[in-house]
Symmetry: C2
Subunit: 529 residues, 2 copies
C-alpha cells in the first residue's frame, strides 16, 4: 500500500455536528505516577526483541544522591504503560554550573526502543514519531516539565554534556497519566483461566490508554481517530468502561466531515480543529455504519441516529456505486480495502463481505428510522449481493470462497464471509472446519485487528474451543513476550517484524488489539449480549 | 591551564551590596530584526575558516512559497551579529499533517559553525554551548518562539522529518535583538583612516552585544561577568555608550561576593541569583581595583567607592601576602595568572607588574578615602616592589625584563612592566623599541585581550605609530576575514586555532576584543581623557 494523497478532495464541515462533538469532549482524568525502580536496558536473547529492562544496581530511594555527567544514563521504569506528561526536578552538584545542561530524553513502551539508536532510524514512517527530546537547560535547579504527551513505561535520560566541573542530579520524576476513563470502573473477568484473565487485564489497559479526548489508534503513534479502530474500540468499551460520550463524540466527528462524494474518511486529526485525512479505505468507511449501529444497539439514542442517519446512508450509497451488474464490488484500485497489514492477499471478496456485513446493519437502522421506501430498496440489494456472492465467489467443489481474478483462496475472505452470514450457520460451521484444517496454525496475518475477526468468525460459527485457543495462543504470546499493553502489529511467526521497517516506530499500545475484553465477555463469560 | 575546582571555598554574600546590584539591573532595549537574505553555506578556500555564506537561489520575498521536506535546509542571514530571541511562523503544505514536524535549528555567529556537524564535536568545553535546538511540533500552523537566547548572524533550520505527505512552510522569521544600549547613542569615530573607522564600528557592535543585564564576556559562550573582561569593557564603555549603571551594577556584584579570604572571584554567574565561580586568577582579582578606580575617575561617585573600598582593600591585602621578603610575588601555583590564552610563557613578572599597576590605582583610592595610615603603608610597599622589580627582574645588560627561575624573556612581561610604569618614560620608550625589534611581528599571543595591552603599552611608551599599525594589522585582519564582531581568540599566524580544540565552540563576539573603540578615542582622536 502506498501513502494515499488526495489533496483535491473537498470535505463537508457540518458545524451543527462539529459543535455536538466539541461539547462531548471529555475532561481527562489524571494520576501522578512515580517510577517503581531504576533499570538498565540489557541485551537478552530470551526476549523477543533481544532487550530487557534489568533492575539497576542503583536504587530509586537514593536517587538524589546520584549525579550524572557526560555520557551517563538513567532509566526510570514506571511499572506499567501510561500516556501523559513527564516532569522531573534537576539540580547540579559540584562547582557552579558553567555551561548549559544538555539532555536527551527518550520515552519507550518497550525496552527495545531504548536500545535502538534514533540517529540510525531508517523506517518508512516519519522519524518525528520517535519519542525523543533534546533539551538545553541554561540554569539549575529547575523542574523540567515537558509540554508534549508521551506513551511509555520507560523514561531514559542521557546526559549529553554538563561540564567537567559539575554533574546533574535528578529527583522527583513524575509521570502524569491521562485517560478519559479509570481502570477501577471495570470489573475484571474471572474465567478460571489465568491466561485469559491476564489477557483481559492487558486488553483493558490497552483500551484505557487509547481512550483520550477521542478513541486514538495508538497514543504513541498515530494518535488519530481511525474508523477501523473505533469500530472495535467502541465494542470493547461497551463491554467494559461503557463510556457513551466518547463514542458519541467520535461518531459526530466522522459524521461532520464526510467528503463531498459521501465517502467518510478513514481517520481524523483531532489535536487541532478536527481535520479529515485525505485517505479512504473501502472497509473503514463502511465501519461508520457498523459503529453507528452498535452504538444505537447499546444506548438506543434516537437523536444521535437521526443526526447521523443521512451521513451513513451517503457513505453506503457511495460504496454501492462500485457494484457491477452481478452485484459484485469492483472498486477503483485506489479505493483500498485494508483488512490487515499483510498486503499480499487479494481483498475483493473481503470487500464484498464487509459491504454485506454493513448493509445488514444499515437495514436495521433504516427500519428504526421507518424509512419504508429504502427498506425495500436496500433489502433487495442485500438479497442480490448474497445470491451473487454464493454463486460467483463460493467454490462449491472446494467449499471455500475465492477472491480476485486468480480465484485466490485466502483466510480473510472466509472469515469475513462468515461474519457477513452469507451462508447458513451450518454451512459456516463446515466452512470454518475447513479453514482450521487449511489455515491453522495461522500464517501471514500481521495484526491483532485481523486476528480479532478470525476469532469472532470462529465464535460465530460455533468453533468456540478453537476461538478460545486462538486468543490464548495469539494474545497470550504477547503476554509471554512481556507486553504491558497489546501491540499494533504482531505475527507470532515473525515476531520481530515491523510493517514500517523499524521496531522503534511500532506502536506497542494499539487500540485494535484490545478486543479480548469484548470477545471474552461476549462469547466466554457471556456477561454482555 | 586545568579547570580549577575549589568547592570548599566559602563566599561572603553581602546582601546590602547585592540589593544595590539588583536595583541597577537594566531593562533590555529590544529591536525586531528581519533577515536580509537567504544563504547557502558553501566551502570557500578564500575564507579563513574555509566556509562562506553565499546568496541562495531562493529569494526571501518568496519565502512562504517554498516548502521544505525531510533533509532540506534553509539558512537565514540577518545581515549582522545580534543577541536575542528567535521566532518564526511554520505551517504545512500538502495533505493533513500526519506526523510531528521534527526540526533542527542552529544559530551561528560565523558560517563555519553551520558547516561543522555538532554530533562530531570533540572540543574541550561542554558541547552544550553549541547553539543547537531539536524541536518537535505536534501541530501546525504555529509560531515557534524559542525561549532561549542566542548570539548569531545566521539561523539554519534543518527539516529532520515531516512525512511523505506534506512539507513545512516558513514565514515571518524575526530575531528580537537585545542589549542594554543602542548603537545610535555613540558618535562613530572619523579618523580619516577607513580601516580604523571600520575597526571602530565593529568594536562598538561587539561591545553593544556583550552589554546585556551585565557586561558578559561572550553572549554565545560563556555569558558570564568576568573581571578581566569587565575591566576593559568598562573603559570601552566610558569612551562610547558611557553607561554608568551597568558598570556600577557589575562592581557591586563582585564586591558583594568575595571569598572569605578576601579574594575576589574571576567571574559571576548572573542568570540565576548571582553565584561567584570557584575560580581565582591572580590578575583578574586585582582588576577589581582597576575597575573601581576607573569608575571613580569617570563618575566621581563617592558612595560607590565608600561601599566597595574595603572589598578592594581585602583583595589587595590577600594578593600582598604572596610577596616574599624581596617584595617579589610568589603565588601558589594554583593561583593562576591568566594574561593570555597562550599557556606557554612564564607569567611571574606579569603578575608582579599587574600588582604594581593595581597598587598604584589603589593608592589613589586610599587618598580619596583620606585613609592616612594606609597611604603610608601602601606607598612603602609600592616603592619596595618597584625597587625590587628593577633589581631582580630587569636584566640591565639585555635591557629587558626576565620572568621565572629560567629567566625567560617574553613579550608579556615587558608589556605589563611598561603599563606598571616601573621604569621612567624614557626607559620605557627604549624598552619597547627593543621589544618591537625582538618580538614583532608578534607570535604566540592568542587573544585580542593581550593584544590590547600590547597596543596600550606602545601608546604609553610613545610608540604611537607602531600602536596604530598593530591595531590595523591585528583587528584589521579580523575585518578582512569577515568579522561582524571581534573574536575571543585570534592568532594571525594560526588563524584557525581554537583554545578549545574546536572552532564551533569559539566565541566570535567577545567583549575583551572590543577595545579599539577605547584605544582609538584615547590615543588617536584624543576625544576622551
Amino acid at each position: 500500500m502506498d501513502f494515499q494523497e488526495n489533496r483535491n478532495i473537498k470535505f463537508i464541515h457540518n458545524q451543527y455536528l462539529l459543535e455536538k462533538a466539541e461539547k462531548l469532549k471529555p475532561q481527562l482524568i489524571k494520576h501522578s505516577i512515580s517510577p517503581t525502580r531504576l533499570v538498565d536496558i540489557v541485551p537478552d536473547n530470551t526476549n523477543v526483541y533481544n532487550f530487557s529492562a534489568k533492575e539497576s544496581h542503583q536504587s530509586l530511594d537514593s536517587l538524589s544522591n546520584y549525579s550524572f555527567g557526560k555520557g551517563e544514563r538513567i532509566v526510570f521504569d514506571f511499572g506499567d504503560h501510561y500516556v501523559g506528561h513527564f516532569k522531573i526536578n534537576i539540580s547540579s552538584l559540584g562547582s557552579p554550573m558553567d555551561a548549559p545542561l544538555f539532555l536527551h530524553l527518550k520515552f519507550a513502551e518497550l525496552p527495545v526502543e531504548l536500545a535502538e539508536d534514533s540517529d540510525g532510524y531508517q523506517g518508512m514512517i516519519s522519524k518525528s514519531w520517535l519519542q525523543d527530546e533534546y533539551i538545553h537547560l541554561d540554569t539549575l535547579p529547575q523542574t523540567l516539565a515537558l509540554p508534549r504527551r508521551y506513551s511509555c513505561r520507560y523514561v531514559a535520560i542521557d546526559v549529553i554534556d554538563t561540564s567537567p566541573k559539575w554533574k546533574a542530579v535528578f529527583s522527583k520524576p513524575v509521570f502524569t497519566a491521562e485517560s478519559s476513563v479509570e481502570l477501577n470502573q471495570v470489573t475484571p473477568v474471572n474465567t478460571k483461566n489465568k491466561k485469559l484473565n491476564k489477557i483481559d487485564s492487558i486488553g483493558l489497559k490497552t483500551l484505557q490508554d487509547c481512550m483520550q479526548q477521542v478513541f486514538e489508534d495508538g497514543p504513541k503513534r498515530d494518535r488519530r481517530l481511525w474508523l477501523g479502530d473505533l469500530h472495535l474500540q467502541a465494542l470493547a468499551n461497551y463491554a467494559t468502561f461503557n463510556n457513551k460520550e466518547l463514542v458519541e463524540r467520535c461518531l459526530y466527528l466522522f459524521g461532520a466531515l464526510p467528503a463531498e462524494d459521501g465517502r467518510i474518511t478513514t481517520n481524523i486529526f483531532t489535536f487541532t480543529k478536527p481535520i479529515p485525512d485525505d485517505t479512504f479505505f473501502f472497509d473503514y468507511g463502511l465501519f461508520f455504519i457498523s459503529t453507528l449501529y452498535d452504538f444505537y444497539k447499546q444506548f438506543q439514542d434516537k437523536q444521535v441516529l437521526d443526526d447521523l442517519y443521512l451521513v451513513a446512508k451517503q457513505e453506503l450509497d457511495s460504496v454501492l456505486t462500485t457494484l457491477n451488474k452481478d452485484y459484485i464490488i469492483e472498486p477503483d484500485k485506489n479505493w483500498f480495502i485494508f483488512v490487515d497489514w499483510n498486503m499480499n492477499f487479494d481483498r475483493n471478496t473481503c470487500g464484498q463481505a464487509i459491504l454485506i456485513y454493513a448493509l445488514r446493519q444499515f437495514i436495521k437502522l433504516v427500519e428504526i428510522e421507518n424509512d419504508q421506501e429504502n427498506i425495500t430498496k436496500y433489502k433487495a440489494i442485500l438479497t442480490k449481493m448474497i445470491k451473487s456472492s454464493k454463486e460467483k465467489l463460493f467454490d462449491k467443489k472446494i467449499g471455500l470462497f475465492i477472491s480476485g481474478n486468480d480465484r485466490e483462496i485466502n483466510l480473510a475472505s472466509q472469515v469475513w464471509m462468515v461474519l457477513a452470514h452469507v451462508l447458513t450457520n451450518k454451512e459456516n460451521y463446515n466452512l470454518m472446519t475447513k479453514v482450521i484444517k487449511l489455515f491453522f496454525p495461522i500464517h501471514d496475518i500481521a495484526t491483532p485487528y485481523m486476528y480479532h475477526y478470525i476469532v469472532e468468525s470462529l465464535f460465530e460459527s460455533n468453533h468456540s474451543n478453537d476461538a478460545i485457543k486462538l486468543i490464548e495462543e495469539y494474545w497470550g504470546k504477547m503476554v509471554d513476550y512481556g507486553a504491558d499493553t497489546f501491540w499494533e502489529a504482531f505475527d507470532p511467526n515473525k515476531p520481530d517484524d515491523s510493517p514500517y521497517g523499524s521496531l522503534a516506530i511500532n506502536s506497542f499500545c494499539h487500540a485494535w488489539s484490545c478486543t479480548p475484553v469484548y470477545l471474552i465477555r461476549k462469547y466466554i463469560t457471556h456477561t454482555i449480549n
